[in-house]
Point group: C3
Chain length 635, copies 3
């Protein structure tokens, strides 16, 4: 297939006179896709019922006239001001009980029925008008669900919906809920579903079962909201439907939502993320300030390849300094090209730069684009054009199944955050650290959804921290041909956040190991491992007859192994994790390749991509890689 | 007397089929006391007025059948969900004006009359049913008053009650209040008590006199709430009544509440406390992460011995990792035994482990018990059984009055927090630091309530930081045979939080010293003392004719002394405090014994207990003490 | 003219019997001015309409009898408790929507019409009674507008007023507002001014144009509130009217408010400021803990000289430890004298110590005065008397225009805080750092309002960070004879917070430089400059034909220069700024004098004042300066 480039464009921000010229420049730059429309509701419907499609007709036409392909976004992330008057209680509500009002974006509660209907109405109108438009070649629903912490809402609407959701979960049996949640613990029993409140504003922490159920409910509300739009669009258009997920947002289940989409896309802001959500040390933040974390984007690429069942894009690619991180540096020259090629190496169908031209007004006026506000080329433009030329000149990327997989489970992330046990422990961070260790060892990785049961073709599968392990998954993993690495906390809870007791976790078929006790540790109290590395922050006391493969310097078991299954009861530091993964990978027959600092690879069916994320030239086995260097080596 | 062990048990959490076996195992483990019932309201009264005592009858019977003695708790810390419907405004309100609702525990405002009546009703029903039960050998009111910051409530109910409380304090004379508080200062004068609000949500800080009065009122509300339960129980039972206080909770006056009890008990979680409320440095937190602070528990033991007028227990003893601290490590092997013996050495009648079996559900599922969730013995079980065996084999502990006393004044803690003057200064911390210095010098200590006037038998009395010193106390101390150490801030305020002006503080009989000026200092600005050590954070400029016994390296007086009284005007660091206390203790004729790091002693009438709180073996004058070692040396 | 001393006195706090003695001691101490009345509303009008002037009559008479001159304050900063009953919605409202209630001070919203009328009523009554009083020689409106963050209020009253203010700004054309603010960006368009809310409680950040407009509106409300009082007083009195501004409060435009006053005064608390608002490093805070920052007060002196158009005072001078900073040390002996003389050197007409006698009650009981609470002299008294004696003995200070000026623009401070781009970047801090660099180079400085167009007499003018540069100002600066230093961010926005695009900023006449791109940087990522120093936190990429005078070590332009204009695109560290300012100053023909650490000078028409702010004696070109030393050297 042909990998393509694109950009995000806001015709409503610019005089109509320059649309044609913009389109011609986009074409000349080698772009294919132009996403538009997703924040334009007040231009489309300035007053309720008064629809203004003409400008959008002409904008699409101007783009189409250049052969550009439009991704059309439903504008539901930014309901106009009049919506707040029609639905004064449409806003999400914070944990402190404060409505989150009009004046920016994403100002709606997913559980609000009135707004839900409005979102369907505008989607229907848009789909009716553009469903058959030849230039509209793809759709996007809404924009960045969950951004700005907008999944969870403590509104009255959410409470009503949560009660109904729970009643359905428990077949209307309140005693079943009381039993499953252990509500007798502090006399928290309910007599009916109508007595159940939201788990905020309690004196001390609420029941974790209550919290986790609310997290699952909240995720389901997003999925339902999105599904309603998808169904409407599908009734009028055959173009594929996408949504642009945002980095490290785990508040809803991207896999579940993705089941309704043809294409998963995500918004990649490597420098903003490094400051804001990678969890890097100050030293790493300094070293990679202009390049971004060398693994964070790749992890998301692999994640969204899974979410999209193979079809995925980067819908928004950072092209220069952004406006929203604590500090907003400019990328190292070459990084825009590197980021783009890295996405293609991981299988992206398209990479779109956000945005075409830097807006001189409003919230994102400090967010760079391909063009400066004065319409001159910004530095990213040349790098985008370079990639366009390279795409035309080189053979296509040939994706292939990776030999290594990591199971990624949104539910586990909610479970960890519901009860981290030790300050700062996070499931996403655990996954990222395992992913980094694999990449430091030169591995190419697939991310898999937790519902996966067929593991054919994988040599090694990691399922750390998946707190609820359904029995069929345990069995499928035990049956698979792969080496499987569990722990810490894998299987630590049942489906309603209780500790299984007969037997205690993890209760793995074919691996006799029991978590006898759990402790969390101050970060300054590493527990040294025999042979190097340490457990940090979290450590389980393990019992069982399986072979001890890792132990503390004092001889306590840290990892046990039987057959092809290994369970590790500690949160290991980088050195420990490198050793553990090497042990399991060697058993799996994987070839390990120690990467120099900042260098990463990705293997496809036909070649190996090499990327230098560091700011210095690095000598590698395939030669010298300059800063931001990209190299393709045929197999 | 016979020192005994016990545990906290929740029959309502477990199938009735295993109660008898649980009871048999408790008996076999050497336990005597079983506390039950304190969170069971929703099981006792699932619907208003529909009482279900049968299960509790049978649970008590099952325990009693093994000869176990029940401590029965009133369930008022966890009103059921229906209570919130009957009394929608029963919740405490935060300083920000937010009600603290249903879903965890302690969700009530002490000033709410409706809930107050409900708490009396359920207490009366319980007392009527079990007052004469032969197995109910003690009572507990409610659970951990003040835990989760629940004493202070900014509710309407509190405002109404506060106004009435003030009117009583000032005999209905609003001008007296205006005068006492200095309300003319910023035109804050009231025309009637009904104009007085609660001291929250002001633009800048409210009048400290207003804040302190509200703190005193809030404490009195707890005392009244408890007293109502005590009076009802006493009408039906002759068994002693207790309450389980929580560590470092100073929001109500434990002495005043204790006057209504026969037995004071407290809940001792050494590892949780170290992370959460000791105020230790990161180095100390690391060194003692598995042992807890070597003095924090001892201080509370001595405090509750005073609160209980000699009769006190540990009602909840940490047996393994807890769930609620930022980090929750496992105890060093042997510490559960050490903690238990330390409590006995300080005179505890009983030590009960919390809890019998780790609950696999709800908020405390990560809190260890004597049993694991799968009913296997957890590590603490063996240590408990060891203590039980040792208790049977050894002579009883013979308590004796200590030669050294510290006055502890809850009102002073409120005064310091009302106006710390320097960031982070706290009365409790000041007392803890003095207590630690005494323990480093090998002293055995009594804590005394501020109402003490008879100091017979004490050689040395410390009254640091007691901001309001009533004249009779000053006189009693001046008359006593003991060396008395005052300051900093002793006597700094009158009874309504004004600075006494004629003369200025501290105005001590027989000790001519005047605090001419006060300054607070950045923590990084130690003021060196001649001879070693430094003042840190807080320093007074002292005038007077008394002998200067400590001075800064620049010659400013820091401590003055006349007769048997010493006043120190600085917050001294450990070295300074060690020297100051040595000076006063030598004058008092006390024998000082420099303790090795982590080693502490406690002297009774007949022996000296030695405890090694460090994780290393330590050589002492009584031989090598292993980590967590306990040694009894006869006098 | 005769420079004079004074103090702040609260006769209502003390028994009437001691007023006469107090007045006599004031006179004997050499004081001239006594400010009274500003918090006394509840004494003047204990109940609505029941006026009690008699005590104030007698207090003024007691002071006047000693020849003391009264500054009479309107009491509107502390409306009595009954006011809250008359106007329950009179309070300012926090960004979180919480009213800021009664119980301290400044508890009113500037936009509340009811309270506005009350403030006029009491001002009128006071002006009528004392407008002709021979002892009332000056007036003060209210007290410290803006203190405790009280300018900005999210009340309903503010919303109503803001809509009207906006309608006036945009001539009632809502589309003009939508266009100017770029409201189409996220469908934020309004259909009428009545749809506009306040920029709080949005999901993510509101439109910066919206925020900046609200900041401007909020400032205008303060100006209007003050103007109403001024007009009333002027109708009854010829005495000059002042207001006491507070240090580093920039929430309203002091210049605009000052246009209505005869005298600008400010409240100088060097030690409190150092802890609280200077932004000094921990090392500087430690080194200057007892002296205060060596430049912070001087900057304010120069600022208020401009605000008062030459006529300015220190209305409240710190005399000892204060009560409100995180830490409250005592001043180094001599500093009270130094602070006083420094104010005179900068042209103050009077310096008044706050307060006469330390109050033993209420919020400020830990705030030192000239007298202790027991009426003994506090240490500051002798220093004040020394200054009084010196004033009598020496020649008067002869102010003169400085050769160097800094433009200070409140609007720019709001713009930076609306969109700092990098965490922690602040316009005030930028100005302070430029001011410090000038002072380290021995310069004497004027602060100028942004409306200045005539720069006659200045050799060097600094306009860093002034985000909106009106064209007439650019032209006036370009025409001036002075060297002008711009940047970073000078001219970066138009009048409604959009980036000018044709051309891009700064668009300076006669200096071809374009800000092509902007980045903010982690503080631990300094960008080294060729020749020494670094850019930190913020750096622009500059284009243009002007001469590069500063560049990074990698050769990127940091400062460009043409004619007498220089633009610097980076936030420079101290070394870089010293070098940049030296470069420009040399071009301006200024004589640079490198000051020893802690030493500062101020040149008048006839002499140079030397001040040693350090705690050590310092050798200077005019001889040894002791700690806190002051030296006057005739030219």
């Amino acid at each position: 297939m042909k990998r393509t480039l694109g950009t995000c464009y806001y015709p409503e921000h610019w005089p109509e006179e320059i649309w044609a010229e913009d389109a011609a420049r986009m074409k000349a730059a080698g772009l294919t896709w132009i996403r538009i429309g997703e924040f334009s509701w007040s231009k489309l419907e300035p007053t309720p019922g008064d629809l203004h499609w003409d400008w959008l007709d002409r904008a699409i036409e101007a783009l189409g006239a250049q052969g550009l392909r439009v991704v059309l976004g439903t504008p539901t992330a930014t309901p106009p001001r009049w919506m707040a008057e029609r639905h004064p209680d449409m806003f999400a509500v914070t944990a402190e009980g404060q409505p989150r009002g009009f004046g920016s974006r994403r100002h709606y509660c997913f559980s609000h029925k009135g707004y839900f209907a409005e979102s369907q109405r505008i989607t229907r109108l848009m789909a009716e008008r553009y469903g058959a438009n030849p230039h509209v070649a793809a759709w996007q629903t809404d924009n960045e669900y969950g951004c700005h912490d907008t999944v969870i809402s403590y509104s009255d609407a959410a409470q009503t919906a949560f009660r109904a959701w729970l009643a359905e979960q428990f077949d209307g049996e309140i005693d079943a809920l009381n039993e499953a949640w252990g509500n007798m613990f502090w006399s928290m029993e309910y007599r009916s579903f109508d007595e159940i409140g939201l788990p905020n504003l309690t004196v001390t922490e609420p029941n974790p079962a209550h919290v986790l159920a609310f997290r699952r409910f909240s995720s389901d509300q997003v999925v339902a909201f999105n599904r309603a739009q998808v169904e409407i669009i599908k009734a009028h258009s055959t173009a594929p439907i996408s949504h642009n997920y945002m980095g490290r947002i785990t508040d809803f289940d991207h896999f579940k939502l993705g089941e309704d989409l043809e294409i998963a896309t995500w918004d990649s802001y490597p420098l903003g993320f490094l400051e804001d959500r990678v969890g890097a040390s100050p030293e790493e933040q300094r070293a990679y300030a202009r390049q971004g974390d060398p693994d964070f984007q790749a992890l998301h690429h692999d994640l969204y390849r899974a979410v999209g069942r193979g079809r995925w894009w980067v819908m928004e690619q950072q092209p220069g300094p952004v406006n929203w991180a604590p500090y907003n540096p400019a990328p190292l020259p070459g990084m825009v090209r590197l980021w783009t090629w890295e996405a293609f190496a991981h299988g992206a169908e398209a990479v779109c730069y956000f945005r075409w031209r830097q807006a001189p007004f409003a919230q994102e006026q400090m967010h760079a684009g391909l063009l400066r506000p004065d319409s001159q080329d910004a530095p990213a433009m040349q790098e985008a054009m370079d990639v366009a030329a390279e795409l035309g000149a080189a053979a296509d990327v040939q994706p292939a199944q990776a030999p290594v997989a990591i199971l990624f489970d949104y539910d586990a992330d909610w479970a960890w955050s519901t009860q981290p046990h030790g300050a700062g422990l996070s499931y996403f961070q655990l996954i990222l650290e395992h992913y980094k260790a694999l990449r430091r060892a030169g591995q190419t990785i697939d991310i898999l959804p937790p519902e996966t049961r067929d593991f054919t073709g994988y040599k090694m599968i990691l399922a750390p921290g998946m707190m609820h392990l359904p029995e069929p998954l345990k069995e499928a993993l035990a049956r698979s041909e792969a080496e499987v690495l569990y722990g810490p906390r894998s299987g630590a809870r049942d489906g309603h956040f209780s500790i299984p007791t007969s037997p205690l976790p993890p209760a793995l078929p074919g691996l006799d190991v029991t978590v006898a006790r759990v402790e969390s540790l101050r970060p300054d109290m590493p527990i040294a491992l025999k042979g190097g590395g340490a457990a940090r922050g979290y450590l389980e006391e393990l019992e069982g007859t399986a072979e001890v493969v890792f132990e503390t310097s004092e001889g306590a078991a840290v990892a046990l192994r039987a057959g092809r299954q290994t369970y590790c009861g500690g949160w290991l530091d980088a050195e420990g994790l490198d050793r553990l993964i090497a042990t399991v990978a060697q058993a799996a027959g994987l070839e390990l390749r120690q990467m120099p600092e900042g260098v990463r690879t990705r293997r496809t069916a036909t070649e190996v991509f090499w990327f230098n994320h560091s700011a210095e030239p690095v000598e590698t086995e395939v030669g010298l890689l300059p800063p931001a260097g990209v190299k393709r080596i045929a197999l």
